[in-house]
Amino acid sequence: MKITIASGKGGTGKTTISTNLSSYLAIGADVVLADLDVEEPNSKLFIEGDLVFEKACDKRVPRWIKEECTLCGKCEEVCRFNAVIKVGDEILIFPELCHSCYACSELCPTGSLPMIPQKIGELKHFKTENLDFVEGRLDIGEEQAVPLISQVIEYVDEKFSQDTIKLFDAPPGTSCPVIEASRGSDFVILVTEPTPFGLNDLKLAVETMRVLCQKFGVVINRHGIGDNSIEEYCNAEGIPIIAKIPNDRRVAELYSKGELIYPKIQEFETALKQIAEFVGGIK
């Protein structure tokens, strides 16, 4: 079972829900949580565990072999991403801009640009008492999140059995990284809050899920703080509302310290139970 937790906008409580839900589910099942918000991975702040595995993640970028090069300029001409630039009698490579399309390398008439691995970030695997946690962290300045996200997903798929519940904490927004994080999942939980901002961003996220033909449902966080427009929208669109988490200042306080919420707040635990039951019924 693979579940992605996403949200149209940042700050809706996506990380709070994924860290708490994974810990809660881990009481009675094998669970792994993967933080795919590789540009701003924050889940680790809420999870204490021992590092059991780490590795550098690569993408392939060209390397210039000066001796073979005739400075014909074909590489610069075919690169759509400004990652290969001919300056005087040098070919400069800007790995952060490279999309690893291989065009420069394979279209080079003299084979002067072999593709070599270049580090873009790290994958870390932690173990707590009953939960596995995997995190991808993109190096600062690196712009390609997707290759790292797919490597983290791959690691999780290989390492854990079919019976393990796999939770993926997606990056915010509706762009390529979110799509990468949602595509292979059995179900996507969209976390939103009951305000006009929340609704505006939820609509974008719903549109994305529909184009991907992805099954999804909504969790309303901070319920009671705003209006009913999210519920009205979901009802009109036939989108299941999985749980409503009541607004509570104590949640914000626990979050601010990086603590888990459900062991201390009953209503929060009830909401997690509803999510767990809903998810359990999907299969």
Binding site: G8, K9, G10, G11, T12, G13, T15, E39, E40, N42, L45, V78, R80, F81, H99, S100, C101, Y102, A103, E106, L107, I140, E143, P172, G173, T174, S175, C176, I179, E193, P194, T195, P196, F197, N200, D201, L204, E207, T208, V211, L212, R222, I225, G226, D227, N247, R249, A252, E253, Y255, S256, K257, G258
Partner: protein
């Protein structure tokens, strides 16, 4: 003209609520630019009228001309993004996976692959309920915010500010630490960092400040929800002092933010509150800071 860019690194800190309130206070004397195009929300609070629209194009996708395609499979072979599949004996491009690298179109022996620019969103000019002009954009499905789009929004906003001799350009900046936020900071007189007293708020503040610092832009900070966690607030204050960032205000956890939001009102319109007074003072403080800049 002074350009103030409001950024936060992480979502949910109240950045847009502050930006909209400042815009409301400054009325027609400011031009507003919403560069948070991933989650463009400012128009909701300022009741933008979308009076001018323009299509925004960015990136390209491969399109196979099925009449001329000989289905040799060269394109599929070179594609590193698994974007070309054969369905019903015809090679077809999955536009979501296509990176727009042009490799397939370059190797196609019969030149049956065209690269088409895609409409990825809409660009708008609006009048707000505060009487100010606003420049904003909306991205469509799977579109990625880019330095290019942010640059367009900011450029148009700056032109308007200069042409109409307005005093302030208020920019709601992009999230994260990537190309869009760099583009939104470019040319700013003051970067206003809105953070919150949470461990992740502090974490992301430090990350985004590294960027601001590299641009040598004068910085100020508002700590929102400061009373949630006294220890983190202290840590943030120490960080601000160390980096010589002006602390504009510490604002208490306040549900007025969401309540005002639910009525599509800025804090200023929502009625008298401590928060309103706090925001009015903050804006005055920010204006004073900009006066002292060269």
């Amino acid at each position: 003209m002074k350009e103030i860019v409001i950024i936060s690194g992480k979502g949910g800190t109240g950045k847009t609520s502050f930006a909209a309130s400042f815009a409301y206070l400054e009325k027609e004397n400011a031009v507003i630019a919403d560069c948070d195009v991933d989650a463009a929300n400012m128009h909701l609070l300022l009741d933008a009228d979308f009076r001018y629209q323009e299509d925004f194009y960015s990136g390209e996708v491969a399109v196979i001309d099925e009449e001329n395609c000989v289905n040799c499979g060269d394109c599929k072979e070179v594609c590193r993004f698994d974007a070309i599949h054969v369905t019903d004996d015809q090679h077809r491009v999955d536009p979501i996976s296509c990176e727009g690298c042009w490799y397939c179109s370059r190797v196609c022996p019969v030149e049956a692959i065209d690269m088409k620019t895609q409409k990825v969103g809409d660009f708008y000019l609006s009048m707000t309920k505060a009487g100010s002009e606003m420049v904003h954009a909306k991205l469509g499905f799977a579109a990625e915010n880019s330095g290019k789009l942010v640059a367009k929004v900011k450029n148009e906003a700056k032109k308007l500010t200069l042409a109409n001799k307005k005093e302030f350009l208020i920019v709601d900046g992009s999230p994260g630490v990537g190309c869009p936020v760099i583009s939104s900071l470019s040319g700013a007189d003051l970067a206003l960092l809105v953070t919150e007293a949470t461990v992740s708020g502090l974490h992301d503040l430090k990350r985004v400040y590294r960027l601001v610092k590299s641009f040598n832009i004068k910085s100020a900070c508002i700590i929102n929800k400061y009373d949630l966690n006294a220890d983190v607030t202290k840590e943030i204050e120490a960080f601000l002092e160390e980096e010589n960032i002006i602390l504009v205000a510490k604002v208490a956890y306040d549900e007025t933010f969401s309540k005002a939001l639910s009525q599509a009102k800025t804090i200023i319109e929502y009625g008298d509150s401590n928060l309103k007074t706090e925001i009015e003072k903050s804006w005055q403080h920010i204006k004073n800071i900009t006066k002292e800049l060269k």
